[in-house]
């Protein structure tokens, strides 16, 4: 099977509100950086996958139809893949298949959201079935907080443990030039911060951001010709779960486990804690990072609080998680999953700058969205196998 590599990445300067660019201009900024990184121009790109969050975030339906001018993609294949918060990874998966399936050689994936433009919580609340609970919805915060509360009882995911995630990721953001939230916090400050949807408190929550990310994929043979530092995609999968299926477990994410198992098998990972040098996970709230530790097999079930407390997931630990700062540094929702992939690629190719994990060769990526029922996993490496 053809190996696929990331040959260029780009990110905008993320911000709370970018008044200088439209949605289309924002996406272009990331694309131009990715093209420059790869040493390519749009003429070298066969196909474009646009990924962004729910269109109601930005009042423009099927925004790729508008973005096409800013992307310089006239007369190319342009399609949008959307899958809530994990959409960037779902877009990258579509791009991989285009190359492996023989319809394109080089594919540009661009993911973005300009969240300053809409009413975020009202918009996400329409995720809920209009007949079944929408009036109680608080975006995804209501159920996210509720199941964190349940994990506290069953898995020991305490408020203190989640606060440590906030402390770690916000400290890591200080080293990331693309992050726009640059403020360190303490466990005490997180615990004392205002409850938004208890047990979720304001410092458990990432910022609302404008931002975009672009990634260029190419196949083996072509990839090495483009760059001396391709980041090889060793596996990628994106699984779903019916939102109100019988006996759906919200304590551990089944689709995450299924996706991880498939990707680990494809990439020869049998001991994730030991084999991965770095992980980038998409944490819409601190509590999710704890849950992902377990779902991704970085620790046993019920071991997440101990893992964060041990320091293992710090920059200096044996399995650093989110050296970029994760979503806590910037959270343009539709772009965040692709940012995780780009950051992991930067890590395994030694391009992460101040937040580089020295010698990182194998990186783990996690993303997801919706009713916590869409979950993707990817593995990237400095070598093909």
């Amino acid at each position: 099977m053809t190996n696929i590599a990331i040959v260029g990445t780009g990110q905008t300067a993320h911000a709370r509100r970018r008044l200088d660019v439209s949605q289309a201009g924002l996406a272009r900024e990331a694309v131009m950086e990715a093209l420059a990184d790869a040493g390519l121009t749009m003429a070298d790109i066969d196909s474009v996958v646009v990924a962004s969050g729910p269109a109601m975030f930005g009042a423009v339906n099927q925004p790729e139809k508008w973005l096409v001018d800013a992307l310089g993609a006239r007369f190319k294949p342009v399609v949008r893949v959307t899958s809530g918060g994990g959409t960037g990874l779902a877009g990258a998966l579509a791009a991989m298949n285009q190359i492996k399936g023989g319809v394109a050689k080089r594919v540009l994936v661009v993911a973005y959201d300009k969240l300053s433009e809409g009413a975020l919580q009202a918009s996400i609340s329409t995720l809920y079935d209009p007949f079944w609970g929408r009036e109680f919805a608080v975006g995804i915060m209501g159920f996210s907080a509720a199941y964190w509360r349940a994990r506290m009882d069953r898995l020991g995911h305490t408020e203190e443990a989640a606060a440590m995630v906030a402390v770690k990721n916000r400290a890591n953001s200080m080293l990331n030039p693309k992050a726009h939230v640059k403020k360190e916090v303490t466990v005490e400050e997180v615990l004392a911060s205002k409850p938004l949807c208890w047990p979720i408190k304001v410092l458990d929550v990432p910022p609302i951001s404008d931002g975009a990310c672009a990634v260029i994929l190419a196949a083996e043979g072509d990839a090495e010709a483009i760059t001396s530092t391709p980041a090889w995609i060793r596996g990628m999968a994106y699984y779903s779960e019916a939102d109100n299926a019988a006996h759906r477990s919200m304590l551990q994410s089944e689709p995450l486990k299924i996706a991880a198992a498939k990707v680990y098998r494809a990439s020869g990972v049998t001991n994730p804690r030991r084999q991965f040098d770095v992980a980038e996970v998409q944490e819409p709230y601190t509590c999710f990072e704890l849950s992902y530790y377990e779902g991704l097999g970085l620790c046993p079930e019920g071991g997440a609080a101990e893992l964060i407390a041990s320091g293992a997931t710090q920059m200096t630990g044996d399995i650093p998680v989110n050296p970029s700062g994760g979503c806590m540094g910037a959270n343009p929702i539709g772009a965040t999953a692709l940012i995780r992939l780009a950051e992991a690629a930067m890590q395994v190719t030694g391009k992460a700058g101040a937040h580089q994990i020295q010698g990182a060769e194998l990186g783990l990526v996690q993303a997801g969205g919706g009713w916590a029922n869409l979950r993707g996993v990817a593995v990237v490496g400095s070598t093909k196998d």
Binding site: L19, A59, W132, D153, C197, A245
Partner: protein
């Protein structure tokens, strides 16, 4: 956002849902400048740095070739009609302004339809009070006397309009269909909750549905469900946001009613936020529906769930 279930037993047809959401949209530099300059009755276009195409409204990027705009240009307010269509919402037209390569899409005003011909000279009509949007030109009118203008360099451009307030209003008539219809008809008229059983896995599904999500087989038997259940998970909502339908604080709860295998989303009431956080309601708490006086055929017919003795 509002939901109004107004149907009667006879119809149980649809539920109206209105989404009304505010936006502040960013136009970008060129478009923002175009919009700002309209207020001064000036039309700004852009010339592509690569292919030299001149387009109006000014764009940051060239739709033809994808290059960035080289310069903004002042465009005459006169041009020729290159297309039109008469619709219920008025006459829409393509107007190729003098000196440009790409027509402007706008409206035709103050003009009798029968006088429209391709190639006719037109000129802009301006709003008396500029509002900072594209309707500062109310439209274009036939103007046979207009002389052919020329592009001019721009100087002292106004600062771009950075944000436009926008509101999207979308109205839906969501069909109840057979399954929600049967459930909510019973809820409304008989205060009876009904689920449906999957013949394969035997789980009772609420809300009822035509196919079991897990087995993908048609569901079969309707099952009466008590209005008691167990809290699977809950949180305490404090945050306030635009479009919110409940008034915080309230307890968001996902409840598994007795005998079912799925989640009902509602609130747990009759207690304060402090009580909720203290553990009076928590995963495993037993709850019972407190029925409302309303009969709407929706979950709003249950006022809230209250904690009862016992635990799961």
């Amino acid at each position: 956002m509002t939901n109004n279930a107004t149907s009667t037993r006879e119809t149980m047809g649809s539920m109206t849902s209105r989404l009304s959401m505010p936006y502040t949209l960013t136009a970008g530099k060129a478009m923002g400048t175009f919009l700002a300059e309209l207020g001064a009755q000036r039309i700004i276009g852009s010339r592509c740095a690569a292919c030299a195409t001149v387009r109006v409204p000014a764009q940051d990027f060239c739709g033809d070739c994808g290059a960035e705009t080289g310069e903004l240009v002042a465009v005459p307010s006169t041009g020729e009609l290159t297309g039109w269509t008469v619709t219920e919402r008025g006459i829409l037209a393509f107007v190729l302004l003098d000196g440009t390569d790409v027509p402007l899409l706008h409206r035709i005003v103050d003009t009798d339809v029968s006088s429209l011909v391709l190639g006719a000279r037109v000129s802009a009509r301006w709003a008396a009070e500029p509002a900072g949007n594209v309707m500062d030109i109310t439209g274009f009118a036939i103007d046979a006397e207009s002389t052919v203008g020329a592009l001019a360099p721009t100087n002292e451009l106004l600062a771009p309009i950075e944000q436009l307030a926008y509101r999207m209003e979308l109205t839906y008539e969501h069909s109840y269909g057979h399954f929600y219809g049967s459930l909510f008809d019973s809820v409304k008229n008989d205060r009876r909750i009904r689920g449906i059983r999957c013949p394969s896995c035997r789980n009772v599904l609420l809300p009822p549905r035509g196919f079991c999500d897990v087995c993908f087989v048609p569901t079969k038997d309707w099952i009466d469900i008590p209005d008691t259940g167990t809290v699977q998970a809950c949180s305490v909502v404090h945050i306030e946001f635009v479009g919110q339908r409940m008034t915080p604080p309230y307890v968001y709860a996902e409840i598994v009613l007795d005998g079912t295998a799925t989640r009902l989303i509602h609130s747990v009431g009759g207690l304060s936020a402090e009580e909720a956080r203290s553990g009076i309601v928590k995963p495993g708490s037993r709850v019972k529906a407190v029925w409302s006086d309303r009969a709407t055929g929706s979950l709003a017919d249950i006022e809230y769930f209250q904690v009862i003795d016992g635990s799961a």
